[in-house]
């Protein structure tokens, strides 16, 4: 697995979200994979401290299926745009990679748009020859701010 392949994987992951290919995005996670948006800086864990989101595959599936049902809050529908800085590979160890990707994220709905920014940290592993996400940890710059609804995936 080359560095370029790892980087390409992260770009593709963001693109799947922005294009709403949620099933394909879901398949990028390992069976024990998690999507985590901590509430505080350097938050050590998600079990004994509240997070903005901490989702295993069951909860990710729930979030995806709910969005498909066009719930009240999806009228009008939300759309996202990730703008990524080039991912940095901070550690690589055989079949495991730790990456750091600074990002801007816009979420638009009707006439309103909010802008968020932060750092996404991926823990990627090789599973049956393919890269998979064991943990995507999204550190929002303003994680401790009073935030409005964030409806799609960071």
């Amino acid at each position: 697995m080359t560095d370029a392949e790892v980087t390409r994987f992260i770009y593709r992951e963001a693109r799947l979200l922005d294009e709403k290919h949620w099933d394909a995005w879901y398949e990028l996670f390992t069976e024990d994979g998690h999507y985590w948006v901590p509430l505080t800086r350097n938050q050590p864990d998600a079990e004994f401290h509240t997070s903005l989101a901490y989702e295993d595959k069951l909860l990710l599936r729930l979030r995806i299926e709910r969005l498909r049902r066009r719930p009240p809050s999806q009228h009008p529908e939300s759309w996202s745009q990730h703008v990524l800085q080039a991912p940095e590979i901070e550690a690589a160890d055989g079949d495991s990679w730790q990456t750091r990707t600074a990002f801007h994220y816009a979420e638009a709905r009707g006439d309103a748009m909010q802008l968020l920014t932060g750092v996404a940290r991926h823990h990627l592993v090789r599973n049956d020859g393919a890269l998979r996400i064991r943990l995507k940890r999204v550190e929002l710059l303003n994680c401790d701010a009073a935030l409005p609804s964030i409806q799609l995936f960071l």
């Binding site: 004994f48 509240t50 009240p72």
Partner: protein, 435 residues
């Protein structure tokens, strides 16, 4: 424009027995009067004593749009002070929490105050010689606010006029007891951070929603209904993940929510889930139940653990969920802007699973990223926008209305009644337009 300030009859005209005028949600003058007359004259939740364990420890927040700080004193008591320098009015403390040491100092001119708010030192004090400084407002320092502590919950009343604490809350305080008594030691502490969710809607939409049992099956069908479907092919006795255990009950039937019951008290307080609630079916924790029996005796332990009130509203600011030890606090900012804080408590002497349950619940339900919260927030916003339309000036709160409820001070009725909202507005109008 002041249509309401000097016209109590106009204010009273906004509230009918079974309906309210749209202005209560959309008029900025009404919002201002609510801060002055309702929020300043009633007991507003500030924080919990466990947040300020040591002398000098403080937290800051707004009460009735006024910045205050809650600070631990050298004698271990907790005081609430106005967070406003007596000199030029700067907010003296800007961090959300911290330790002030022995003195609170204003960053602008170094005026400093003792932890009880009194003036300790002013640079070049002789500059005030020959003036009436000693008698003026500035010498009163950071002015204390009336504060009361109940089981560690600190409430403040900004105005010197208003009901006493016990008279105001009365029997509704039992919900705080039932929450704290779930600790075998009878004590709780705030832990695990605060979720802060900004709503672009009036504070009353949130407070009314807490005992609105007719909305989950509509607004939360997409989240709770999906959770139910995702779990539907599992065997009945399969151990449920916490998230499923917590989300699925939101998809309960109308009959379920109706039979759970709602109880209202004077001054706008109420709770739903009198007989059972969406928190009734969480997995049992045998070791803990044994510890509770040792601490309280079998009968009281059974009473505490069998009491699973859904939401208790301490009108107008605080809502609590005793069965999972979480609270939400409304901090109104403008007529169409409200900050909701969601805090978690750890039960002292109880197994970790309760705190995990609490952390999971607040994240699933109360976070700005919550699939449940999104739909509530959207519905509040739709009301905010819809009420701008004239043509029909009235918001209907008539479900199960009975004239005899008007004089009741402690009444339990069927869970889908809109009595809790009518009860809130009866208190609202008494504070807004005193006879």
């Amino acid at each position: 424009m002041t249509r309401y300030r000097d016209d109590p009859a106009a204010l009273r005209g906004l509230v009918r027995d079974d309906a309210v005028h749209r202005d209560v949600y959309i008029d900025p003058e009404i919002f201002q009067l609510e801060m002055e007359r309702l929020w300043a004259r009633t007991w507003i939740y500030v924080g919990h004593t466990s947040q300020v364990p040591a002398p000098g420890d403080y937290i800051t927040c707004n009460v009735a749009s006024v910045p205050v700080l809650m600070i631990r004193q050298p004698d271990n008591s907790v005081r609430v002070l106005r967070n406003r320098c007596a000199h030029k009015g700067a907010k003296v403390v800007s961090d959300w929490s911290g330790n002030a040491g022995r003195f609170i100092r204003c960053p602008y001119h170094n005026w400093s105050y003792r932890t009880d708010g009194s003036v300790a030192a002013i640079p070049l004090r002789q500059g005030y010689d020959g003036t009436d400084f000693a008698q003026c407002e500035a010498m009163q320092g950071l002015r204390p606010v009336a504060g009361e502590t109940y089981r560690g919950f600190v409430f403040a009343r900004l105005s010197e006029d208003g009901p006493g604490f016990t008279d105001y809350f009365g029997e509704s305080l039992s919900s705080i007891d039932y929450m704290a008594d779930r600790s075998p030691e009878g004590e709780m502490e705030i832990a695990g951070g605060v979720l802060r969710y900004m709503h672009d809607s009036n504070w009353k939409m949130f407070v009314e929603n807490l005992n609105d049992t007719m909305h989950p099956m509509a607004a939360h069908e997409s989240s709770a209904g999906t959770a139910k479907d995702l779990w539907s092919d599992q065997p009945v006795d399969a151990p449920k993940p916490m998230a499923i255990e917590q989300l699925v009950p939101f998809a309960g039937s109308y009959e379920f929510f109706d039979k759970m019951g709602v109880r209202v008290f004077g001054n706008g307080h109420s709770y739903s889930g009198v007989h059972f609630s969406i928190h009734s079916s969480y997995a049992a924790v045998p070791d803990y139940e044994a510890a509770m029996q040792r601490a309280y005796g079998a009968q009281r332990a059974k009473d505490i653990l069998g009491t699973v009130r859904h939401n208790t509203v301490y009108y107008p600011s605080l809502t609590i969920k005793g069965a999972i030890q979480t609270i939400r606090v409304a901090r109104p900012i403008a007529v169409d802007k409200t900050l909701l804080e969601s805090w978690s408590f750890r039960l002292k002497g109880a197994p970790d699973i309760f705190f995990k349950r609490n952390v999971t619940y607040t994240r699933l339900i109360n976070s700005p990223m919550s699939v449940v919260g999104h739909d509530d927030q959207q519905c509040y916003r739709l009301i905010q926008e819809g009420l701008a339309a004239g043509g029909n000036e009235w918001v209907n709160l008539q479900r199960d209305y009975r004239p005899e409820e008007r004089e009741a001070h402690d009444l339990t009725v069927n869970g889908t009644s809109e009595i809790s909202m009518r009860n809130q507005f009866r208190a609202w109008v008494r504070f807004m337009a005193p006879a």
